[in-house]
C-alpha cells in the first residue's frame, strides 16, 4: 500500500491497512476532523504491530531557504522534537478513541536529513519527550511505544526493505518552492 506525503512515497508492501492519518479534507476517506489535535502523517497496521509515521522533507531539492531555516532552527531549539512528541501523543489518543490500538506501536519517522549522525540523537530527543519521559513507572502495565526512531531515506530503506521509500520525480513544471 503506497502512501504519499508531497514528493515522498512509502510502499508498505505487507500492511493490512495504511492510511493518511492527517486527512483534513472532509470529502476524503479517513477525514480526521480535529484541527486542534496534532497528527502524524500515516498510520499503518501490520499483522503484529502498528506504525505511526511522520515525514519531513528538508532534503527536498525544491525546499526554499526560508523553510529550511525554520526547520533547522526548530531542530536546534528543541521545538521540532516537541512537535514530533505531540503528534505521537495526540495520534495515540485519537486511535485509542477509535479503539484501534490493539497492537504494539512503533513511531518510525522519515526525515530527509543529509547528516545521518544527527538521527540517533534526534530520535532519543523525541523519545525522551514521550511518556514516561525516560522514567521507570512500576505502576504501568504497558508502554505507549516499542520504538521511536528517525531515519533518512537511505537508513529507512536499509532497515525496512518491505517498506521502500522513494522520492517521486515530479513532472517538469515551473520551479516552485515546497514546504519541508
Amino acid at each position: 500500500m503506497k502512501l504519499r506525503e508531497r514528493d515522498l512515497e512509502i510502499d508498505f508492501t505487507d500492511a493490512i491497512n495504511a492510511i493518511v492519518f492527517d486527512q483534513m479534507k472532509v470529502d476524503q476517506p479517513n477525514f480526521h476532523g480535529i484541527s486542534q489535535m496534532h497528527r502524524v502523517d500515516f498510520v499503518v497496521e501490520l499483522e503484529t504491530a502498528i506504525l505511526f509515521v511522520e515525514v519531513k522533507d528538508p532534503g527536498n531539492p525544491k525546499a526554499q531557504s526560508k523553510g529550511l531555516e525554520k526547520f533547522h532552527g526548530e531542530l536546534q531549539n528543541g521545538t521540532l522534537s516537541d512537535t514530533f512528541a505531540a503528534k505521537f501523543i495526540d495520534t495515540f489518543l485519537y486511535r485509542w478513541a477509535e479503539a484501534s490500538l490493539e497492537k504494539p506501536v512503533h513511531y518510525v519517522n522519515l526525515v530527509t536529513l543529509e547528516d545521518s549522525e544527527l538521527l540517533p540523537n534526534f530520535s532519543d530527543e523525541i523519545a525522551r519527550k514521550l511518556p514516561p519521559m525516560g522514567m521507570s513507572v512500576p505502576r504501568w502495565k504497558r508502554q505507549l511505544f516499542e520504538n521511536c526512531q528517525v531515519f533518512n531515506i537511505e537508513l529507512w530503506n536499509a532497515s525496512f526493505p518491505k517498506w521502500p521509500a522513494s522520492r517521486l520525480m515530479p513532472a517538469p513544471t515551473a520551479p516552485q518552492g515546497v514546504d519541508v
Binding site: 547528516d115 537508513l155 536499509a158 525496512f160
Partner: protein
C-alpha cells in the same frame, strides 16, 4: 609549513601521498590505519634531526625514538613484504624537500635535501596529557633510560617544549599581540584559569580574563581601544594554586595549548605545523566548540594545524564553525584499508559531507540499525 608528505614502504603505508592545506587538516580513519604514524613522520622530518651533518644517524635514532621498533633498529620500520626501500619525504611550502630512505636491515637512514638550513620544527601533542608529566620528564637528574622506555619522543619533545622558559607573562602577550587576544582569554576562561610553571612543575591558578575596567585607562588608551581589540586582564580568583594533577585531565590538554602559546613554542606564522593526535581524548564534549574556535583562530593567524581524530563532535564543529569568508580552509583526509589488498588508502576532501568512507558516520548508522534490530525485530524485513 608542510605542503606534501610521501611515505613509501613505511610501517602501515605501502605508498601514501598527501597534500596538506595551509590551514586546518583533519585526518580521520579507523584504528590501525596509521593516523598517529603519519603525524609522527611529519614530526621526524621537520625536526632538527633531519638536518645537518649527522642527519643520517640522528634521524634514524629519532625514528626509533618515535616508533619504538622492537629491535631498536630503523630498518624494522620498513614495511614487510614490499619491494624496495622505505622512503619518507616531506615538501615544505618554501619548496624545501627532505627525503629519508632506508633498507630493511639499515641502522642509519640516507637523508637528502634540496636546501640548506632548518625548517621550523613541528609541535606534536600526543593523545595522553603531558603537562603533569613535565616534572618527572625534565627533572635535573632524570633516569633517562627508564623514561625513554616508557615514553616515546612524541611525549619527551612536547615536555621539553612546555618546560621552555619564555615570555611566560601571558597578560603582556595578550596586550602586545592582538592575535593572542582572541585566543588566550578564550582558552583560559574555558578552563577557568591558567597553568604556570613554578619550580619545574605546572600549577593551576584559578581565574578568568576580564575586559580591563575602562576607568583604569587613560583617555588616549580609551580612544585606542576602539581601534584595537578589547583589552583583557587576567583576574585570579585567589592566591591559592593547585597542583596540576588535581585538575581535570581535559583541562590539562587545553593547558598544553595555553602554555605553548605563552612561552612562544607555538607562534602562528613562524612555527612549524601543530600536530595534535586525538584532541578529543579526555575532553568533555562541551569544551570542544571553544577548542575548535581557538584552533580556527590560530589557523587564521597563519598556523598550520594537522589533527587526527575519531570524534564526530570535533569534526562537526569544524564543519559548522569554519567561515570561508574569513579564509578558513579545512581539509579532511580519510585513511582507510583496502579490503582486498590490506593497503592503506587516502582520500582528501574539502567538504565534510563528501567524506567517504566515514567511519564515524558509519558508527552512528550501526547504532541506528542495532536499535531497529533490538526493538523491531523482523518488522519491515
Amino acid at each position: 609549513m608542510i605542503s606534501k608528505l610521501h611515505l613509501k614502504n613505511f610501517i602501515a603505508f605501502t605508498d601514501l601521498s598527501i597534500d596538506f592545506s595551509p590551514g586546518i587538516n583533519i585526518v580521520i580513519g579507523e584504528n590501525g590505519t596509521g593516523k598517529t604514524q603519519l603525524l609522527k613522520a611529519i614530526l621526524a622530518l621537520s625536526g632538527p634531526e633531519a638536518h645537518g651533518d649527522e642527519a643520517d644517524k640522528q634521524l634514524a635514532h629519532k625514528l626509533c625514538r618515535l616508533y619504538h621498533p622492537l629491535s631498536d633498529q630503523v630498518g624494522e620500520l620498513r614495511r614487510a613484504g614490499e619491494r624496495g626501500e622505505a622512503m619518507l619525504s616531506a615538501t615544505l611550502a618554501s619548496g624545501h624537500e627532505i627525503t629519508a630512505q632506508f633498507s630493511g636491515s639499515a641502522t642509519v637512514v640516507k637523508v637528502s635535501t634540496n636546501a640548506q638550513g632548518e625548517a621550523s620544527p613541528a609541535i606534536f601533542i600526543p593523545t595522553k596529557e603531558v603537562l603533569s608529566l613535565v616534572r618527572g620528564l625534565t627533572a635535573e637528574q632524570p633516569d633517562l633510560p627508564t623514561i625513554e622506555r616508557i615514553f616515546d619522543d612524541g611525549y619527551l619533545d612536547l615536555a621539553n617544549q612546555l618546560a621552555k622558559e619564555g615570555t611566560s607573562d601571558l597578560d603582556a602577550k595578550v596586550q602586545l599581540d592582538p592575535r593572542f587576544a582572541s585566543i588566550v582569554p578564550r582558552l583560559t576562561n574555558l578552563i577557568g584559569g591558567q597553568y604556570l610553571l613554578e619550580n619545574g612543575r605546572f600549577v593551576f591558578e584559578a581565574g578568568r580574563y576580564a575586559e580591563k575596567d575602562a576607568a583604569t585607562r587613560s583617555k588616549a588608551q580609551h580612544a585606542q581601544m576602539y581601534q584595537d581589540s578589547t583589552e583583557w586582564k587576567f583576574m585570579p580568583d585567589s592566591k591559592q594554586r593547585l597542583s596540576c594533577g588535581m585538575t581535570a585531565e581535559g583541562f590539562r590538554k587545553i593547558g598544553v595549548l595555553q602554555r605553548l602559546l605563552s612561552n612562544g613554542s607555538l607562534n602562528p606564522g613562524t612555527s612549524g605545523p601543530l600536530l595534535w593526535d586525538e584532541p578529543e581524548s579526555n575532553l568533555n564534549p562541551k569544551l570542544m566548540k571553544d577548542l575548535v574556535l581557538a584552533l580556527l583562530e590560530l589557523a587564521r593567524n597563519g598556523q598550520q594545524i594537522i589533527l587526527a581524530t575519531h570524534d564526530y563532535v570535533l569534526l562537526k564543529w569544524f564543519d559548522l564553525l569554519m567561515d570561508k569568508g574569513k579564509g578558513d580552509q579545512v581539509r579532511f583526509h580519510v585513511l582507510s584499508r583496502d579490503t582486498d589488498t590490506g593497503q592503506v588508502r587516502r582520500d582528501s576532501m574539502d567538504d565534510y559531507l563528501a567524506i567517504e568512507p566515514n567511519a564515524i558516520a558509519d558508527t552512528f548508522n550501526e547504532l541506528m540499525k542495532a536499535q531497529v534490530a533490538r526493538k523491531m525485530g523482523d518488522l519491515g524485513k
